[in-house]
Subunit: 355 residues, 2 copies
């Protein structure tokens, strides 16, 4: 396999809409932060030390069964263009911050379907991630832990008996685990209940962020919910807790959708119909409007108001309309207006292909 | 023939979009105001005098060849429901004010295709009208004058050698002639030039009004332009003058459309595409929004951006989505929300039927 195959493939595994609760829980993610003992954290690495660090990681990595069986590939960022790295961000496989450098000692490890990945020298030396469709936190944890075990057998992690895994940012010390789910909550938004609910979630130790994690806006009614606390709880407890809150939110969203269908049937069908009508006929559309309308269309599909479109197609579109993916498809750099035109074209082709 | 046939037919002749300049000049109208000598103007008529007046008109009317050949029919408003009268307003065959009463001495004379009509005891005893598609002011005048001559041979009109035809409102004294055209000027609106142009038109002795004449709003970029002056000019001069200004406006609108297609190609196609998308998928739509979007779609057809829809269909839709027509079609009285739902359905059916 090749990292670029994953970058240029339209589909990665989290986009599969048929997973458990996949209508509301788009994806689940587990991320483990790990660092090497006696090597400075990434933000303190100079070129020479950075290369040493990469060498150690690469060595351990090449001993792992995943590498030896050709299931995963490592690529450093000096071999990926800025557009390639941005496409990885848009596919949720690396963080926006990590994509910013073309450093030769920073990079990514990926498997074929994008379910398992590791960021090298992002905020920590290693950020092992598993990203699956639907509500699959336990499965994510098992897979991430498997890769973690393989690497740990070759590496000396910075670990303290009392504090647990040591990390560059103190908010990750302990388990080093961040569990998150990407939720699609349009009914909650439409009924104006999101703020109240998000406030309650905060009191339960959870954080809610936008489509691309920390510092990004909520768009298209997509919410990323993750645990705030990484210490004083086991990995299993963190996953169980997040899963329980997610299930509650899913039930609440379903209830609100049913109520909408009863109380505001025509208004709902109107909103969804218009969204579909605009998406299939616009010639210029910006990212936020497109996400918002795709969210309406997604709701229409989930509620059986629209037919013929699959959740997979929409998950794919949400990524395909982002700037780097659009420019890759057009094979040229484009300004905002150019992208808005290309975006409308991509959406139209996709929706026409489906009909 | 029967007046109700014209009321319930979706199509009347002015809706024909293939007439001369019919892409911009929707219709032309000539209206002649006439009154009977020695009978008070309609607003001064009590029931007894009103019935006398109607009797005289009916008598003269029954002598006319049009009546005797069964080409035109007279109906008084005590035989037409409020909804029926409203449908005549929506088809531009009587004025909104005339529709308000169910008086037994007020009424209408119509021919089969709605091109020739006469309001009885509206503001004047007789308002003879001819309404044709496209720019056909001379043809309208010839037809209206023909009917006028037939009636004048049987009736004594209130006529003064110095002042001409006498009318209830002094603004109509003289020729009693009002010539008007219904214009569709979307490019003028989009480029923000309407106000300036309308101001200039005012200085040329023309008045601009909305879709349903005096006191109605401009909607869907439809403008009704008519002569302000009825005295001191012959009928032919009035028609020639209005025709000349209309031709200028048509040329200006065409020029602006060409410029839009060059300078704002994508924005234009986007606006038109979205309008079509919303109209074909909305479930609730109010009258103003529908008119405005139909105007965009009409522009798209005229400019070759949209295919498969005929101007006739859109002219028909502009009338079919009005409140009385919607309620007639639904065969029930409906509140505003009910009409908004029915309107969306009627538009969708029409557009689907076309595609």
């Amino acid at each position: 396999m090749n990292v670029k195959d994953v970058i240029y493939n339209n589909f990665v595994t989290w986009m599969d809409g048929d997973a458990e609760n996949g209508d509301i829980v788009i994806s689940s993610r587990i991320r483990l932060a790990r660092n090497l003992r006696e090597i400075p954290f990434p933000h303190l690495l100079d070129q020479a030390k950075g290369e040493d660090c990469l060498k150690i990681i690469k060595g351990a990595w090449q001993e792992s069964p995943a590498y030896q069986q050709g299931q995963m590939e490592l690529e450093t960022f000096d071999h990926l263009s800025s557009l390639d790295r941005q496409m990885l961000v848009e596919k949720h496989l690396i963080s926006p911050g990590h994509a910013e450098t073309n450093s030769s000692f920073r990079g990514v490890v990926l498997n074929q379907d994008g379910s398992l990945s590791t960021m090298i020298n992002e905020e920590d030396h290693l950020r092992i991630q598993c990203l699956l469709p639907g509500l699959q936190l336990d499965e994510c944890y098992t897979l991430a832990q498997g890769l973690d075990d393989e690497l740990e057998s070759q590496l000396e992690y910075a670990f303290d008996e009392r504090r647990g895994y040591l990390t560059a940012c103190p908010t990750n010390v302990g388990t080093g685990l961040r569990a998150s789910v990407m939720l699609h909550l349009p009914a909650m938004q439409m009924t104006g209940q999101t703020n109240q609910i998000l406030q309650n979630i905060g009191q339960l130790g959870m954080t809610v962020r936008g489509l691309y994690g920390e510092g990004t806006e909520v768009a298209g009614n997509f919410f990323q919910m993750s645990n705030q606390i990484t210490m004083g709880q086991t990995e299993e407890e963190i996953c169980t807790h997040l899963r329980a809150i997610t299930v509650q939110l899913v039930e609440q969203e379903r209830l609100l959708r049913e109520r909408l269908q009863v109380d505001l049937k025509y208004q709902l069908e109107d909103k969804i119909g218009r969204a579909y009508g605009i998406l299939s006929h616009a010639r210029i559309i910006n990212s936020n409007e497109a996400l918002s309308l795709l969210s309406d269309v997604r709701l229409g599909i989930d509620m059986g108001i629209l037919q013929g479109i699959k959740p997979n197609d929409l998950n794919e579109l949400v990524v395909a309309i982002r700037p780097a993916h659009l420019q890759k498809r057009a094979e040229e750099e484009m300004d905002a207006t150019g992208r808005d035109i290309k975006r409308a074209q991509v959406i139209q082709e996709k929706l026409q292909g489906i009909q």
